[in-house]
């Protein structure tokens, strides 16, 4: 399995956080709030599509609303595989960063 990119990780995490309300606008805003990153919708959906194709996400249709021009919302959920991959990413992340804080402290102390 190819490793997730940073953007993919951010998306998956946002969807996880939003639980049952994970649709385009909410995802975008959630990412904006937590990490100050702004994704245009085109980019956002490009990545969402890729993740869906890889089988990490699944979609479900909501009801149409007037402020969307009569289009319905699509909600995203992590699949089992998605959760596994995200978990793996987290593990890797931890391994990579393991001992980082200690190192920084040591360096500061020695200055």
């Amino acid at each position: 399995m190819k490793e997730l990119t940073k953007a993919e990780e951010m998306l998956l995490l946002a969807i996880l956080r939003l639980k049952d309300n994970a649709y385009g606008v909410a995802i975008k805003h959630n990412i904006q709030e937590t990490s100050d990153k702004v994704f245009p919708y085109g980019t956002l959906y490009f990545i969402l599509d890729q993740l869906t194709n890889k089988g990490l996400l699944e979609k479900s249709k909501g009801l149409p609303t007037p402020e969307r021009g009569g289009r319905s919302k699509t909600y995203y959920h992590l699949t089992k595989k998605g959760k596994t991959v995200l978990n793996a990413a987290f593990q890797t992340q931890q391994k990579i960063w393991n001992g980082y804080i200690d190192l920084v402290r040591e360096e500061k102390a020695s200055e």
Partner: protein
Amino acid sequence: MRKKRPPRVAERMLSLLSKSSSQSDLLGDSEEEFSFRLAKKGRFRAVIWYVSQIFFPLPFLLISSFKWRVIMFQNYAKITLRNIKKHKAFSFINITGLAVGMACCILIVLFFQDEKSFDNYHQDLDRLYRVTMHYKGNWEVDFAYVGPPVGPILRRDFFQVEKAARLQRIYFPVVSYGRKIFYETKCFWAENEIFDILTFPFLVGDPASALMKPKTLALSENMAKKYFGSENPVGKMLRIDEEDFEVTAVYENCPENTHLKCDLLASFKTIENMDMASAWGWTTFYTYLKLAPNVDVEAFGKQILNLQDLYQDDTKGQDNTYYLQKVRGIHLHSHLAGEAEPPGNPTAIFITATIGFLILLMACINFMNLSTARFSSRAQEVGMRKVVGASRRQLTGQFLGESLLISFLSFFAALAIAGASLPVFNEIAGKTLSMASFFQPGILVFLILILLFAGFTSGSYPAFILSAFRPVASLKGDAKIGKKGSGIRKTLVVVQFAVSAFLLIGTMIISRQMNFMKNTSLGFSKEQKLVLPVKSSYLKDMNFEPLKTDFLRFPQVYGAAVSSHVPGRGAAGWATTLVGHEEETGQPMAYWFVDYDFLSLYELEIIAGRYFEQGIAGDKDNAFIINESTVRAFGLKSPEDALERQIEVGNGREGRVIGVVKDFHYEGLQQNIGPLLMAFGPEKGVNRFNPTGLLTLTVISDNMEETLSLLKQKWLEFHPDIPYSFYFVDDIFDMKYRAEANTYKIFSIFSFLGLFISCLGLFGLASFVAEQQTKEIGIRKVLGASISGIVFQLSQKFLKWVLFANLIIFPVAYIVMRSWLQNFAYRISISPLVFAVSTFLSIGIALLTVSFQTIRTATANPVDSLRYE
């Protein structure tokens, strides 16, 4: 309500860019956030944000749609190149054929572009017109020029006319400056307003006044260099015939692509006189107009239609009508009597263009044929690709791409071929095209269109057929896929051979017509006739006799005669009246002056009366010889009836008819024989409109070059003030037939190319069929078939196709060639022999092409072909 939604254009663009499955989600989300922003920050900011959503993700969207295509493209390219390398013979046939076809098209496009560009350089081109005239008396003719009253009347009385100018050709002037003496051909008397109508960029001098005074002239740059070298020509005196003219201006040389080339323009004021105002019948004045802007040309045209009736008191039974003709189309579309330069031939252009296109099409057909024939070898690849998941669209794209690549390769070969054959082409077409002409934007676009056309046409059929394969059948390997396209292949081969048969028939008919024209007796002798022009006013009392005796002293000179015109150069005409029949006469007729020896020198035949005779009083001053056609034009019953009738000619001569000469083709075989008058000797007195005398010598010599230089020496010795120049009568006729000679050349080259390409195709197909039938032939041989039997069996189907192709093209060829022959007043009839020969030839060539393969297959050892069974 509308205000609350994002701009529709932006929405459409966004939806176009996001082709993904979540398109509607994307649009929905964007709109939701849009309305959110609309409420918080106002419409303007919201719209800006919405639009920015289109641009930020652009790279992502593009990558997602192109990345895979690039990868697949690499694979396609690799497979294509491998195929080209693997099947060298097929690739060679394809690329050569397409390249030759494209080269033809490229050359024709260049030619066409050049023909189209004629006269484009004039300013206000759309307002420029020439006045032409339809003469209607006892016979009818369309003239490119009109009488001298027309120009001034139009200028004076018609508000629609902004400028008008008359031009008259100076007939064969002797131009001299110091010791530089030449005959010139492209000289005109011109009114100064011509500079406001046609575009002549001035190098020196003032266009507003250059030709305002009598005895002034303007020169082209080349002429200025020719006579004055590095001297400044302005203010110098240049002599035309007997008179001195002051050079007032020098203009840039006229471009090649103009219908009117002027080397020298002399002021019209010099020749203008009172008589011109009523000389309607003196139709030698080119009249150009510049109309005012926004004139209703159609209405104006109707107004001037009957100009002559309105302004002339007595029209002498003539019903002449006047027309406006756009300067823009003169070169291609105007074929009137008296055009200043030889006009273009749109029919010939159309025919050549069609043929060029057909040849390209034939090359494309080859491509299709060979690719479909190779079905089976590609079928497995297609099956495999399909199994792996290629869509039909991808496969179509792959095969189209392949043919585009091949057509791209051919295109460069075609450019090289076209470039290399340009000098030959220029010679045939009489053009000065260069490689640089390829790189005009218009041409480039067209070349790319040719490339794409070739690529798509040749790729289309294999692309759609091959991509439709069912993978199971093709992978099983036993499907006889080659059978599938065989009907279409047959049709294509038939079409190809039909086209080549047409070209063959065309070539043969043209060559027969050419031979006919060369060998038909013109009614006079044109062999060994050397013509030396002598400006008659240069000789004392216009006495040619000493000149004749000078030359007759040479043993190589067998005869000498003087005349104003010779056969092949019979242009000047005068309004002629038969006394007692005034109501239907005053017709323009060719008028020549001749001398006592003219008849015998040209071996003309008198059918009634007698020729001019020395010692008979009155023959010199008031007697005429006419031709049979004149007898008919006067409405007389027989040549005898014409004798002793009185005739008045527009130049002031009158007299009686003393003889009728048998019609001879003095204008060549393209035209009917027009009425012709002959009178004795030139007009009395020095007159600017006196025609030049032409001294014809019958020269018979084994060493023509040496004789010519002897004659030249003699000439310079006795007549240093008359320029020496000469031509042969049969050369004039060769020139007259040059257009036909060129059509012939083009046709024969094309029919060769056409045959070549169809043979390439047939060869490819034959080798394919032979390959397919290897086993069948092996079995036949084992069972006892003879080699000749097998060769026959293999060839016969090809022969059937070729025969069939010939049969269907016969009616087409017959109709087309018959209409071509209509161009000739005297022509051959199409003999059935031509069709027989063409059939025989194409079958022979086809047989030869095919036999190479069939014999190889038939003589192969059956053991080799059957050992795997």
